[in-house]
Amino acid sequence: MTFLTLDGIVKTYGDFTAIAGLDLSVEKGEFLSLLGPSGCGKTTTLQSIAGFVQPTAGRIVLDGRDITHVRPEKRGLGIVFQSYALFPHMTVAENVSFGLEMRGVPRSERVGRVQSALDMVRLHGLGARYPKALSGGQRQRVAIARALAIRPDLLLLDEPMSNLDAKLREDMHIELRAIQRDLGITTILVTHDQVEAMTMSDRIAVMHGGRIVQIGSPFETYERPQSPFASSFLGKTNAFAGAIHTRKPRCYEVKVDNLMFHVPHEGHQFDGNVNVYLRPEKIRLAEPTEARLRGTVRMRVFLGNLWLIGIESPLGPVNVTQPNFGAPPPMEGEEVGLTWLDDDLRLLEQEVAHGHV
């Protein structure tokens, strides 16, 4: 069942178009991420849903109710802000209690609900502290508890993790996801962090230039990007510029320099100049004799769980990642062979570069 619908949302500021006709349906209980670089319109979209930005055109329908012109304080949404936006002059408990008070929840009930909201984010016993006395991670938990205490229909998360350090961020991804599942609360996350979007979301909407360019499950979006932008923004990829050579029943033969790629057919029609995409983790190092492509190791970087290997090949630089399993990869300057599965190749038309490839 569609719970939230954005119907043709447009927002312009003078000559600048922040959102250029955006349609989106969110199911009840779904966790959806709006993912994109800064300036793609994702925050403006969230602000429109929250009511802080009035769309120039379009409709927003929440649970069957048109809220396009409803004031933000009447929308009843839970919002976790990027800066957390805690009230510094109130204790943690007063912060969490504020929304309940505004809703006229009686004092006796408020105490219990504040308590359970704080327990939920594992801040038991910190109710009497002031935000200033908390760590960044704890402040964020207060912001989450405050937003959830009012039992909103919809939870909006505006880059909530961007002020946390990496380790804490990973833990929070898992924890927030678990809380969201437990409560079954419909959630929209705005982020520029693809790992964050993939870890937490049921669906990811990739935004670019004020539009959603692709929407789907994290796996689907990552595996089958539908634009050069999506394929380079979501994860890393190697792009090879070539041209369609022949169209076979099950695959395209694409000629890149003098190497022929066999790219599986996925229903799209291609012609002329195309890009072949191959993700770094889909490439295996092989003996030069059995390789499809040969090259020289230019650099190798140890990332802990992974090795990142930069290879200079006749087709240009190729990045390969390899799990830290078995012997370390060849040293810089050594000659290596590269191989891959044809099924892992993706084909897209060449586009005007967006500066992200």
């Binding site: 929250a50 009511g51 802080f52 004031r71 933000p72 304080e73 009447k74 929308r75 009843g76 949404l77 839970g78 919002i79 802000f81 990027q82 800066s83 936006a85 805690l86 009230f87 510094p88 002059h89 504020f98 929304g99 505004m102 809703r103 002031y130 200033k132 405050r146 937003a147 009012i150």
Partner: protein, 290 residues
């Protein structure tokens, strides 16, 4: 936060602040001490200043209703000016802070403008406006709102009005500084939790700019209580405040010791009120802002 290593710094802080310290001691501390000593001397019409040390001047101020009235009037007017500065300056700052690019700086300049004009010129300007034949009265009479001119010169109302105009910029600057520290998202958070705009302002924004309002009030009060030129010109010789009373003792009756005692008492009263208020404010907001 990074701290400096005391061993490495050595004596440079003393050397760097030395020149300013010297100026401060010779130009401020020394005259203050001399004034304090002068206030303990006696004065006679025939012999002038008599170099004895007694609290007679203070006793005179404390026991004379004439001085009670002056001190009370000064305190009352300073309080009224502070109140008006809060009522005018706080909304003014909030509005200016929300303005867009060219207007914001323009209006800020308009608000701060009075500080750029010499106090005497500015006050004489007000005298022209407020006089019985002044612009305001002429307009009121021309419109038929009053038949006779309303007396504004040489009244407390006039002094409070002009002092408010002069001192509002200090309130605006103080509140402006605290507004700059305010996170815009905090306001949105208040709204998202179901608080109306009014409630959000009262419960979320106001408490956070309170330190700014308080420090602005302290500055305004201190300046209003010790103001001289405005009460002298707008209030005239009869409507005395403490500063003009001290001036008159010095230059009118030539009773320097009594004038010095009045001045010292004004300084002490001001210090007690200002320090007391800021202590109170600090304690009140200690756990919130640091």
């Amino acid at each position: 936060m990074a701290t400096y290593d005391a061993e490495r710094i050595g004596s440079s802080p003393w050397l760097l602040t030395g020149p300013a310290m010297l100026v401060f001691v010779t130009l401020l501390a020394a005259p203050l001490v001399l004034t304090g000593m002068l206030s303990l001397n006696l004065f006679s019409d025939t012999k002038g200043v008599i170099p004895v040390y007694t609290f007679a001047n203070y006793l005179e101020v404390f026991s004379d209703d004439y001085f009670h009235e002056i001190f009370l009037r000064t305190g009352g007017m300073a309080l009224a000016v502070t109140l008006f500065c809060v009522l005018l300056g706080v909304p003014e700052t909030l509005i200016i802070a929300r303005m867009h690019s060219p207007w914001r700086s323009l209006f800020l300049l308009v608000v701060l403008g009075p500080l750029l004009i010499s106090v005497v010129v500015r006050t004489l300007g007000w005298a022209i406006l407020l006089g019985n034949n002044g612009l305001i009265n002429q307009v009121l009479q021309a419109l038929g709102i009053t038949e006779f001119p309303i007396r504004m010169m040489f009244t407390q109302f006039g002094v409070v009005l002009v002092l408010t105009h002069v001192l509002v910029p200090f309130m605006v600057i103080a509140v402006w500084a605290s507004l700059q520290k305010l996170d815009v998202q905090v306001e949105q958070a208040g709204l998202s939790l179901g608080a109306s705009r009014m409630t959000t302002f009262r419960r979320v924004v106001l408490p956070q700019i309170m330190p700014g309002i308080l420090s602005g009030s302290i500055i305004v009060f201190a300046l209003a209580a010790s103001a001289f030129a405005t009460p002298a010109i707008i209030g005239g010789r009869r409507l005395k405040v403490v500063a003009t009373a001290a001036y008159d003792e010095f230059l009118g009756s030539l009773n320097w010791p009594l004038g010095a005692a009045i001045a010292v008492l004004l300084l002490i009263a001001n210090l007690v009120i200002v320090v007391g208020c800021s202590r109170l404010a600090e304690r009140r907001f200690k756990h919130v802002f640091e």
